[in-house]
Amino acid sequence: MSPSSATSRARELLGVGSLTNKALRTWLHGLPGVDQVGIEARAAALATRSIKTTSKEWAIDTAIGMIDLTTLEGADTPGKVRSLCAKAKLPDPTDLGTPQVAAVCVYGDMVHIARESLGDSGIHVAAVATAFPSGRASLAVKLADTKDAVRAGADEIDMVIDRGAFLAGDYRLVFDQIAAVKEACARTGDEPDAHLKVILETGELATYDNVRRASWLAMLAGADFIKTSTGKIQPAATMPVTLLMLEAVRDWRELTGELVGVKPAGGIRTSKDALRYLVMVSEVAGDDWLTPQRFRFGASSLLTDLLLQRQKLRTGVYSGADYVTID
C-alpha cells in the first residue's frame, strides 16, 4: 500500500475530503474514552482464571510458538545472535517435540546474521528500525533504516512511532511516517513484503485514551501489528494496555474486515503471565487471534520459564535453570 493509497483509504473511512490533521484529530478524539477503573478491573479479573493441566500444555506450546525471541542490546555480537537463533530453532535440546518460536528480533545490522543462521527453518527475522527505540530521527533516516533491514532479509519490521509528534497532537505526521515506512517494507517481484509492526511505546503515551487513539491511528496508516513497547521504557507491556489494544483490533475488524495483530513486549517473564495474556486474547479479541500470525510476545527470558514449566509437565518434577540453555 503506497502512502497515497493509505491516505485515500483513510479519507474514505473518515468520510472526509482531505486527510488533514484536524480531520484525524476529530476522528481520534471522537473515539469513546477509556474507563480506567473498568479496564484495570477487567484485566485483573481475566488474570484470575484457573488453567488446568491439559489446557496448560496447549497454552505453553502455543505461547512458545508466539515468541519473538529478542536481543536488543548495544553489546549484541554476531555470536550472541547466532546462539539466540540456535535457541529459536531448538528451544529445548532435551525434548525435540518443543515447538519453535515465531521470530528472532534483532537490530537491523544483525539481520543478515540471523537470516543466515535461521536458514529455511521457517522462523522469521524481525528487525527494529526507524531509529529504535527513541524514534528521534528524520523521516529520511528512518526510511533508510527500514529499507536497509528489508534488503538484508527481514521478514518483519518493528517501527516506533514519533511519540513527540503524537503527544503534540500532530497526528498527520505520525500517520504519514507509518504509511511511508509501510511502503518501505515492500519488496519487488514475488518476494513477500515485510510485515510492519508499529510500536506505540505505551509507557510514554501517558493515558489509556492516548493508547486507544494511537492504536487506531496505526491501524489506519496500515500497521500489520500493533506492539506495546520497545522494552526500553518502564512500564512496558501491561495487561490493561494490551486489553485495550486487543479491543482496538477487534473493533477494527468489525469496521474494515481486516485482522491486525497485537504484540505485547517487555516485562512478560513468567509462564503464568503468558497464560494470562492468552486468556485475554481469547476472551477479548477472539480465538482468531490465537495464532502467531496475529499475536506475539516480545520477550527473551519468558522462553526459559516456559521451557521450565514444559519440563515440569513432562517429567512431573520441578525443573531448574541447569536444565535449559543459557542465552
Partner: protein, 294 residues
C-alpha cells in the same frame, strides 16, 4: 478484667517474607504430653510453596555464597544474639511443643543457642580446615578449596523442634548454601519463631526458607526438584526415606541419610557435640592447578 485470647495463625517464611500457603490451608498445632492443648494454627504448605521457596533460595545463592566468610560469620553470630534475646519465648515453645518441663526446655534452648554460635564461628575457618595445598608431581601449586553446593533441602527433625532444627540449618548455611526447610510436622512453633528471628536479623531473604506442613506431602517434591542440589533427610521419620533418596538420585543430589541403620529413620542425640560432617556434606571441592616457577 479478663483479656481476649490472641489466637495465632502462623504463615510460611519464603524469600524473607511471610506469605500464607498458596493452598490457603492451615492445620492445628497441639502441645505434646498427656492432655494435648491447642497451641496455634500453622500454614499447611503445598508443593507450590516448596516450588516458590526453591526459587527464593536459588536467587539468594549468589549473594550469600559471594559474601565474605567473615561477613557470614558475623551475620550468623547476630542471629545468636537475637536468639538469646528471645530465650524465654523459645523455652515456652519448646516446653509445650516437646512436652518438657521448663528447666528441661531451658537446657534445650541453651544448647540450641550455643550450637548456633558454635557454627557461626566456622565460616572463615572452613577453607583452612577442609581445604588443602596438595603435593603434586610437577611444578604446580595445587590447591583444593571447599565451595557451597547451592540450594539444600532439609527435612527438619520431627522430635527435636529447636535443637535439632538448629543443628541441621546452621551447618548447611555457614558455607554459603541456602536452604529450604520443611519444619517438624507436629512441632513447628520453634521453627516459626526462628523464622521471625531470621527475618529481623541480617540474614538476607531467601537464605533460609521455612515451610510448615505435612512432611509426607511435600518431601517428595523437594527431593525430586531439579533445582535443589542436596537434601538432608534428618526428619524423614514418618516417610520412607529410601524413596526420597531414590528421587534425589535422579538428579544426583547429595543426600544426608537419617540416623540409624535400618529403613526407619531415628533421631540422633542432638545434644552430642557436633563435628563437621553435616557441613562437609554440602560442599563441593574446587581444585586449582597453578604453574609455579623454580
Amino acid at each position: 478484667m479478663s483479656r481476649l485470647e490472641v489466637r495465632k495463625t502462623y504463615k510460611l517464611y519464603i524469600g524473607g517474607a511471610f506469605p500464607r500457603s498458596e493452598s490457603g490451608r492451615s492445620y492445628e498445632v497441639m502441645s505434646s504430653g498427656r492432655a494435648p492443648k491447642f497451641l496455634a494454627n500453622a500454614a499447611q504448605g503445598s508443593r507450590k510453596d516448596i516450588r516458590d521457596a526453591v526459587v527464593a533460595a536459588r536467587s539468594a545463592v549468589k549473594g550469600w555464597s559471594g559474601a565474605t566468610a567473615m561477613g557470614r560469620g558475623q551475620v550468623l553470630y547476630r542471629v545468636g544474639e537475637i536468639l538469646e534475646g528471645r530465650r524465654e519465648q523459645f523455652v515456652a515453645e519448646v516446653a509445650s511443643s516437646e512436652g518438657l518441663t521448663r528447666p528441661q526446655a531451658a537446657k534445650v534452648v541453651d544448647a540450641a543457642i550455643d550450637r548456633w554460635v558454635w557454627y557461626a564461628g566456622w565460616p572463615d575457618k572452613l577453607a583452612q580446615v577442609l581445604g588443602n595445598l596438595n603435593p603434586v608431581a610437577g611444578p604446580y601449586f595445587d590447591i583444593s578449596a571447599p565451595e557451597p553446593t547451592g540450594v539444600v533441602g532439609i527435612l527438619a527433625p520431627q522430635e527435636s523442634s529447636l535443637l535439632g532444627l538448629v543443628s541441621v540449618i546452621a551447618p548447611a548455611i555457614v558455607s554459603g548454601n541456602t536452604v529450604v526447610v520443611v519444619a517438624s510436622e507436629d512441632r513447628p512453633l520453634p521453627a516459626i519463631s526462628l523464622a521471625e528471628v531470621l527475618a529481623t536479623s541480617d540474614v538476607p531473604g531467601g537464605v533460609v526458607n521455612i515451610v510448615t506442613g505435612r512432611t509426607a506431602e511435600v518431601a517428595p517434591w523437594l527431593a525430586a526438584h531439579r533445582d535443589v542440589n542436596a537434601i538432608d533427610l534428618a526428619g524423614a521419620t514418618a516417610v520412607p526415606w529410601g524413596e526420597l533418596e531414590a528421587a534425589a538420585a535422579d538428579t544426583v543430589k547429595r543426600v544426608v541419610r537419617p540416623a540409624g541403620t535400618g529403613t526407619d529413620a531415628v533421631e540422633p542425640d542432638w545434644f552430642a557435640t557436633p563435628d563437621l560432617s553435616r557441613t562437609r556434606a554440602f560442599l563441593e571441592t574446587k581444585t586449582v592447578w597453578h604453574p609455579k616457577g623454580q
